[in-house]
């Protein structure tokens, strides 16, 4: 009985393999897209903010004090002084055009204020459109200014013949991503995204095609049972997606130098769970949608966009409003991305990842049984 079952599953899987092989363009896309995407995203995407384009209007250019102050910006890799100007109109134009991110305006009496022990107002204009970059850039300026202020205080102390001022140091210890390289953060997310899209899209469309062309009826009239059909269809796509995962893993390690600190065995096991869920989701979509056009729309809506925006891939989940955070629990990529990042960067084991693993298991189980049930219903 079981032997016959396996035989039928094997036959379906074999048929599916042949069908994929006959459509070499789809196959090369399924294998080529991940490589292409990883290449450009791994090399291209970066959130490291340095060399912030800055224009300077030094109204007190004749004084040494102001020029010394500016040296702090010139010598920092975080700023890139792109030009000097002497009027507001230029600044406005440059910020409007996006030629500069910030404008630093040193007032006319800067040296006078500093030398006579007064407070010198320093004006900073930032293009706030990209709030995230602006916040980080403003943080850089603030720390330059506060360091300068401490120096000024130290000088005052010295001039009064007192001991130099004591310092209060912040000692930052960065864990897991010691160099704050954003590629290390982005690449595991890209892998998760690619796998999700490839698996859900590929299955939903191929199965939808069989419905559309009527070849599904032929399959149904054979002695193959619904679960066997689902699993048989599943195997080739599982193989392709798993291959994509391996390629992604190798590229991340070799090309982008992302460390892998966890266990490979755990990675493969949890990936298999995730793939099972994602592929089943693809089958469900194909059953619900009658046409390929509809299937593609549903696949985008339920897999691509949520994976892109609600999984924590780009936008941190803990920043979202509570109701949306609740929604993210339904996005399997959320767990998978945490798992990938933890395995790559933190080297965590199953002890810390058990709840994510549990959710993935639930996802796989629910989706697979739902896929089989939907399939049965449709066939009957």
């Amino acid at each position: 009985m079981i032997k016959q079952r396996l035989k039928r599953i094997k036959a379906i899987a074999w048929k599916e393999f042949i069908q994929i092989e006959r459509d070499p363009r789809s196959l090369s896309l399924a294998l080529g897209i991940p490589i292409f995407l990883l290449l450009i995203f791994g090399y291209g995407l970066s959130l490291d903010i340095d060399h912030v384009a800055t224009v300077v209007w030094n109204q007190d250019a004749s004084s040494k004090t102001s020029r010394d102050f500016l040296l702090n910006f010139k010598n920092s890799k975080y700023f890139k002084i792109t030009g000097y100007t002497d009027n507001y109109r230029d600044i406005e134009r440059m910020i409007n055009n996006g030629d500069t991110m910030m404008a630093l305006i040193i007032p006319k009496d800067f040296s006078h204020y500093i030398e006579s022990g007064k407070t010198a107002p320093l004006q900073l204009i930032v293009d706030g459109s990209d709030a995230n970059t602006a916040t980080i850039a403003m943080g850089y300026v603030r720390s330059v200014v506060s360091r300068y202020n401490v120096e000024l205080l130290a000088e005052t102390f010295n001039s009064k013949g007192l001991k130099p001022v004591k310092s209060l140091d912040v000692q930052p210890r960065i864990w897991f991503n010691e160099g704050l390289v954003s590629t290390w953060f982005i690449t595991p997310g890209v892998i998760a995204m690619i796998i999700m899209i490839i698996s859900a899209l590929l299955t939903s469309l191929t199965v939808a095609r069989e419905w559309e062309r009527g070849t599904m009826e032929q399959l149904i009239s054979t002695p193959v049972k619904a679960p066997e059909l689902v699993i048989g269809k599943f195997i080739p796509y599982f193989t392709i997606a798993f291959f994509d995962l391996l390629v992604g893993l190798i590229m991340a390690r070799v090309l982008f130098g992302v460390p892998f600190r966890g266990s490979y065995l755990l990675l493969f096991f949890l990936s298999a769970l995730f793939l099972t869920g994602a592929l089943s989701q693809g089958i469900i979509i194909s059953v619900v949608a009658k046409s390929q056009l509809m299937a593609s729309q549903l696949a985008t809506l339920t897999t691509l966009l949520p994976t892109l925006l609600l999984s924590g891939f780009i936008y941190p989940i803990f920043n979202m409003p509570k109701f949306l955070q609740a929604v993210t629990y339904l996005i399997p990529a959320r767990y998978y991305i945490i798992i990938l990042r933890d395995l790559f960067l933190k080297g965590n084991g199953i002890i810390t990842l058990w709840d994510e693993a549990l959710f993935l298991f639930l996802f796989a189980f629910v989706m697979l049984s739902l896929a089989i049930r939907k399939f049965k219903k449709k066939v009957a």
Partner: protein, 375 residues
């Protein structure tokens, strides 16, 4: 000619809306997307889960911690008492920063010695870590200045102390709300996806079912066929962008400072490129599955390399020059500038010219290919 275009237009609209669920997909889902993603697309870091590890427990250490927790950013989620817990907290992601004050902190401060506070960050998300570090530096810096002032006062330095007062102002987005920046981007990605997918799939479908042959033997000229096929999707996309822009602006209070008409005009120009690419994809794919895959092959890099989430200025030079042929890159700047900066054609023509150029190239290329594939 117009009569023929009209009749194919009517046929197209009928075909699109025959499936009642398609109506929902086209008009309702973009609205749901804009709401969901409008909430999600937010990088303002207003909540930093913090663990506190105070080995010193003196008035000074508590004062510093008070300053951390009184800032609205650092929310103490855990108090920990040994190094092992510190590791666990960061491993599990329960806190993204541990404020670690060693024994002797208060004593050092009172004895006028250098004192240290250790901050252990979860650097996994380098961007968030960077922002949080900025917050922490500001707080500690302020505390240091207050301490020095106190000391100066104690030593009898009462006169004014010179310092620089930073007055920063953010233009266009005064409160630095990142949603204002991302929402126009979300609008443009939704429109891109919809127009690409609908146009590419619809044409391939006719090929796959074989009805394309019927259209070819009809008296329709190729150019009429192209216009008749693409125009419905342009109309749908324009309706979509109006709907989601209206909803986005009213729901999220994102400022729309520029001219709405200019926005629609630029959208029309942009649609030339996306529909052209859709048409092109339909000529190179023989099945809908292939078309779908090709759409993704175009869509993913187009979004990622458009400056939507990852600033183009941060990319390596070679990739930056590669983005010059990405139409979404230009449209992204246009839609963001119209929303936030309120600038008009006098600034945006620099973006619109390449967009027109790309549009013309793409549409001619695919029209030629399309004619060939018919012949």
């Amino acid at each position: 000619m117009f009569e023929r275009i009209q009749s194919i237009l009517i046929k197209e609209f009928k075909q699109i809306f025959r499936d009642p669920r398609m109506k929902t997909v086209i008009f309702v889902t973009p609205l749901i997307q804009i709401i969901l993603f409008g909430y999600a697309a937010n990088k303002d870091i207003t909540y930093v889960p913090t663990a506190i590890y105070d080995k010193d427990n003196t008035a000074e250490s508590r004062e510093l911690l008070r300053r951390f927790t009184y800032s609205k950013y650092f929310v103490p989620e855990r108090y920990i008492f040994n190094d092992k817990e510190q590791n666990q907290v960061l491993d599990k992601g329960d806190a993204s920063v541990v404020i670690h004050i060693d024994r002797g902190f208060g004593r050092n401060i009172n004895a006028d010695k250098d004192a240290q506070v250790q901050l252990a960050f979860d650097g996994t998300d380098s961007n968030t870590a960077m922002v949080v570090m900025g917050y922490a530096n500001t707080i500690v810096g302020k505390y240091q200045q207050d301490l020095i002032k106190e000391r100066a006062y104690a030593k009898g330095i009462t006169g004014p102390v010179s310092n620089v007062d930073l007055r920063d102002r953010a233009w266009f987005n005064g409160n630095l709300i990142s949603r204002n920046y991302y929402l126009p981007g979300v609008i443009s990605t939704i429109v891109t996806m919809m127009s690409l997918l609908l146009s590419a799939m619809a044409i391939v479908k006719e090929k796959e079912i074989g009805t394309m042959e019927q259209l070819i033997v009809s008296p329709l000229k190729p150019i009429e066929l192209i216009i008749g096929k693409l125009l419905p999707f342009a109309v749908i996309a324009l309706v979509q962008i109006t709907l989601i822009t209206t909803l986005g602006v009213f729901w999220f209070h994102v400022p729309l400072r520029g001219n709405l008409l200019l926005l629609l005009l630029s959208t029309c120009i942009y649609l030339f490129t996306t529909l052209g690419i859709g048409l092109f994809i339909s000529t190179v794919s023989s099945t809908q599955q292939e078309a779908m895959m090709s759409v993704f092959l175009f869509y993913m890099p187009a979004v990622m390399l458009s400056g939507f989430a990852y600033p183009i200025a941060n990319m390596p030079k070679i990739i930056q020059s590669f983005t010059a042929i990405n139409p979404l890159r230009y449209f992204m700047v246009v839609i963001r500038s119209i929303f936030l900066k309120g600038v008009g054609l006098e600034v945006l023509w620099i973006q619109l010219v390449p967009l027109v150029a790309i549009g013309v190239c793409v549409i001619t290329l695919s029209a030629i290919r399309f004619r060939k594939s018919l012949g």
